[in-house]
Subunit: 640 residues, 2 copies
């Protein structure tokens, strides 16, 4: 309840895992309030609340988000809202450093969650980041190295039991290294089966989660009370199920040949006594009456082939499927990793149990493989999952079959639907720019695309203040091309040519209006006259909106020399270029605006044909403007 | 001798590791004959010869090259020269698929060399590839998965000793997982020291190797005999040193508390008897009279603190430094990994020995850390080395200090000189395009760069055959802009405009001339009339040179319609753009030609200002044309 209340009242952006939004941010889409101080605090407290309520959710996603928030605040030099700012940190306040910091924060989060430093780096590389530079590789590596050294230090300190459960298990969360892995050609089939089922179940899970999230968004629109009630309802359902279900399971006599304490009564342990007489344990209670981490550890436990009965595992699997689907969308910080690992390990172990003596690999390892397969089937990662599981379980000899399973599950899953994060991105309506253009984009030129839009609004090099204000108020564009008419002729050129001077940003125009850097006459001043008056920091400040700038009648009649504020080297494409190639350029060079220039050269031709932004290049939006492409695409896909 | 003779006579490109050339190829620079069938065969046989001669070189680099060669041949559908072609493989015959295949081949090579599948993927990502797509991640992952499954299968088959030494050590080459790693704050300092020394030694090694390679290139210019003699000399030197040096070492009595057989007489083993009486062993012989792999295994051996004396380790380190420097440049297939691992492990263990009881970590682990530090100090990789060492040694708990050491060594090394592969690339004069432009490139526009070049040669849309032939013969350009003069006016445009139609490639022009697709009159035909006559495959074929095309007088007077062969959507930049931004575009979108368009729009202005190629954007070449930039850069770097 604390978690849900905090999320609903103070920071709605703290709900959910936060990974899709980080992914979108690194792609160039900023979600407001995503990395603020309030989000951070709510996320930390909310995550503690949600996990300790025993809900079927993980702390991994939230930890990634917490890492990204911390990184973002550090990059800004503190929070804007709470007047906590260190001036010496402001040099990191540019887009690229901010993006790098957030990538490092995300990988540190994964590292802290799974104690998997290399896995964290690869997760950032494979899933989160849109642009990757080699410098980023060792930077993220450095940050996860620091995380793991600090973790190790705390564990050293907590070794004597000073800090409760913290540090239990050491650096390896779910150690299965004690079993020696021997496998034969016979194992190939069941292992492939695990991969296939993992892919099918993973994509089915994605599909169902999509439906549930759409249902939830209808409920959430009803207001804060509805959100709160939904969260409380799910929490209540979880508690009831987890407490009551173990009564269904019969008591199992302890196996005296095992070393482990049986039955255990304390907080953690593999053989919970619950409602059983001494010498007996309740296997379903061992799974359900434990923290999520302990439940995974119990299912992964090796050398205990008779510990869990098939029916208990089946009940566990079923209840966690249902809970997982209904828990994810509620208004608390929640991660997807652990629920999927729980489900996957249960079905893996169940499968191994059903195969009985036909397999040579330990049931615990099958549980690991099942978890990996379901993760891959739902999230469609390969290398990073492989390394994360390697670092979680510390069993290097499992690597070949692990890779095999992950690849099969990913391939099967990809045949049905996109990955879970892409589905969430799509649901949230974030304009994510994919790395590869769609095939039909090759049949459309940027000129045709520009013709379908309202014609481009360009400004003169020296423009009247009143026109600048008008343009800013009447449009919502963030960039305007600057065109000089009839420029003084360079050597060997006829007079009367027009010049594409560059691109000026809305925020810079507003800053100029606010600072009232005006000229009395329409006269092209030397650039330095104006430039001397400002530094790049002046323009970079977050300014007010255009509506808040007050100008007098006299000022409205003056002029602005836009030349010093213009980016004189915007990236351009010729109008005949296909949209596909423009998308590649836009995405690879990480642009916000792309100018379209004409292919003809002659008198009277405007030097600018149009301007493209991210929204213009999103496949969905293009298909809206050119419905025949959508139809063609559809008919082609039915034909093929 | 077999290795050197083969390399010198049949495939000079098979000498050395081949990794820099693969790196250059994936950056867009093709080295002739690098991936041919003869190179492959010489590389395989030569590598076997060189390794079995006991030279101080590794089989890792050659294995990477072999993987790349196989991939390239597969992509071509077989060898061009030997008429072994499978037609059904020809669909992979485009640049991107070829690049992807070679990346997969390189990662498979690393995987096969170190039995490190994830390390192979990361090596390809961090060191080899210039462009990375997420699809490439799982493709390389898939290929290394296959490699490891096949390896595992062979090991299973060879388990009963059918295949000699193959499969010894299982999937983990240098297993040190038996030691539990416990470390304290006291260990931080010696570990940091290892990193720092690793960085210093690594960069010193790079520096000295650079000098030796320059000396060798002078010797190699003297002809094949000189090359051959050099190789034989180094081989002789190696044999003499390795055989005679152990006589310097006194005999050490066997430690009866150890389980291992002592002394050993057979092929492999930790305690070689050599010239000692029974019950004694010669520690230097244990290191020098073993295969390189066994030597590493012996130095990495844990729980044997008194096995090697400091003086033996010092001799070993010194002799391998000298041999490593002089062996690398000779005309045999050679890798850098193993020599550096040998040196690094020796100094790591030496350091641990000298610290004596002040350290808590096992000497064997110090040897591992030393090897990692020296590798990182020389090659400047981080994540991939970390994973490779993890997969080599199977000790996950070593991970935090391993990361620490790698980062320190890389940072220290970067302070002195570039990585070894960059040095080799530079020595070979390959125009490698760096990911980041130099800072001074921001002060130069592409217009200025184009003005310093010979003016651009452009063709008309319909051009006389004689002029096309002339242009092709008199220039060496690979691409020509196509400009149409006085095009029929589109609606609302004055007549007489010129149109930048696009870019036509030299190879396509030659193909057209060879096929004699000519027109009788200067008349712009409908595109389809010509296009019907050819398919894209016709143009993609490797054609003869222009000098070999024979044309009659009559044909010379005819015309070619270039429109159907022109790439109508080349990437362009405006002349005012800075070279830095052009480099970013060129590199990110992976271009061969970049057209420069004017910023002015008006009658009489040429629609094309210039054309940029890879060579124009290499920092070294620009500094040649603009010496003042070089001076400025130098003075700035002295000031700062």
């Amino acid at each position: 309840m604390v978690a849900a209340t905090l999320c609903v009242m103070f920071a709605p952006t703290a709900a959910g895992p936060g990974i899709p939004e980080i992914k979108a941010y690194l792609n160039g889409v900023d979600t407001p309030n995503m990395f603020g101080a309030s989000t951070l605090i709510v996320k930390i407290i909310g995550s503690i609340g949600a996990v300790s309520a025993g809900l079927d959710l993980g702390k991994e996603g939230p930890l990634v988000h917490i890492g990204a928030c911390l990184a973002s605040l550090l990059g800004q030099g503190g929070s804007d809202n709470y007047r906590l700012k260190w001036r010496w940190l402001r040099y990191l306040q540019n887009d690229r450093d901010r993006r790098d910091l957030i990538t490092c924060g995300a990988s540190s989060g994964v590292c802290a969650a799974f104690r998997a430093p290399v896995g964290g780096v690869l997760f950032a590389l494979e899933e989160v980041a849109s642009w990757w530079r080699s410098a980023l590789l060792w930077r993220t590596f450095f940050s996860t190295a620091i995380v793991v050294v600090v973790l190790r230090g705390f564990m050293e300190y907590c070794d004597s039991g000073k800090c409760g459960l913290f540090g239990k298990g050491g650096l390896i969360l779910f150690d299965v290294s004690s079993v020696s892995v021997t496998y034969h050609i016979n194992d190939l089939l069941p292992v492939a089966l695990i991969g296939i089922i993992g892919g099918v179940l993973g994509s089915l899970y994605n599909h169902l989660l999509h439906k549930v999230l759409r249902l939830y968004s209808l409920i959430n629109e009803k207001g804060r009370t509805a959100k709160l009630l939904l969260s409380l309802g799910v929490s209540l359902l979880t508690s009831i199920c987890l407490y009551l279900l173990p009564f269904l399971a019969p008591c199992t006599p302890c196996d005296p040949t095992l070393d482990a304490a049986c039955p255990t009564v304390g907080r953690s342990g593999n053989f919970k006594r619950f409602n059983c007489p001494n010498g007996y344990y309740n296997d379903l209670a061992s799974l359900l009456h434990a923290t999520n981490d302990d439940a995974v550890r119990n299912i992964f436990s090796t050398g205990t082939p008779t510990e869990f009965r098939a029916i208990s595992l089946l009940i566990f699997f079923a209840i966690y499927c249902i809970l997982g689907l209904f828990t994810f969308g509620i208004a608390v910080p929640s991660g997807l990793f652990l629920p999927i690992i729980l489900m996957g390990s249960a079905y893996g172990r169940l499968l191994a149990l059903m195969m009985g003596s036909h397999i040579y690999i330990d049931q615990g390892l099958y549980a690991v493989l099942g978890a990996a397969a379901l993760m891959s089937g739902s999230m469609r990662m390969t290398v990073s999952l492989c390394v994360i599981f390697l670092e979680l379980t510390n069993n290097l000899l499992l690597l070949p079959i692990m890779m095999f399973v992950l690849l099969i599950a990913k391939t099967v899953g990809d045949a049905f639907n996109p990955s879970i994060y892409e589905i969430i991105l799509d649901l949230k309506g974030l304009p994510f720019l994919e790395a590869n253009p769609e095939p039909w984009m090759r049949n459309l030129t940027v000129g045709e695309l520009a013709a379908a839009k309202p014609s481009v609004v360009s400004l003169g090099g020296i423009e009247k203040v009143v026109r600048v204000v008008e343009v800013l108020k009447s449009t919502k564009h963030n960039g305007f091309p600057v065109v000089d008419q009839g420029v003084p002729s360079p050597i060997g050129m006829p007079t009367g040519a027009t010049e594409l001077h560059g691109l000026v940003l809305r925020s810079h125009l507003v800053a100029v209006l606010r600072k009232k850097w005006f000229l009395k006459e329409r006269r092209r001043t030397e650039e330095w006259e104006v430039r001397e008056q400002f530094m790049s920091v002046d323009l970079a400040q977050k300014g007010p909106k255009i509506q808040e700038v007050v100008l007098t009648e006299d000022e409205m009649d003056m002029y602005i020399d836009l030349h010093p504020f213009t980016n004189t080297t915007p990236y351009t494409v010729v109008e005949t270029m296909s949209v596909a190639k423009a998308v590649v350029l836009f995405r690879q060079v990480a642009l916000r605006h792309l100018l379209i220039v004409p292919k003809y050269q002659g008198a009277g031709i405007s030097p600018i044909v149009g301007i493209l932004t991210r929204q213009d290049l999103i496949a969905h939006n293009i298909l809206g403007a050119f419905p025949h492409l959508a139809k063609k695409e559809k008919s082609e896909s039915t034909n093929s």
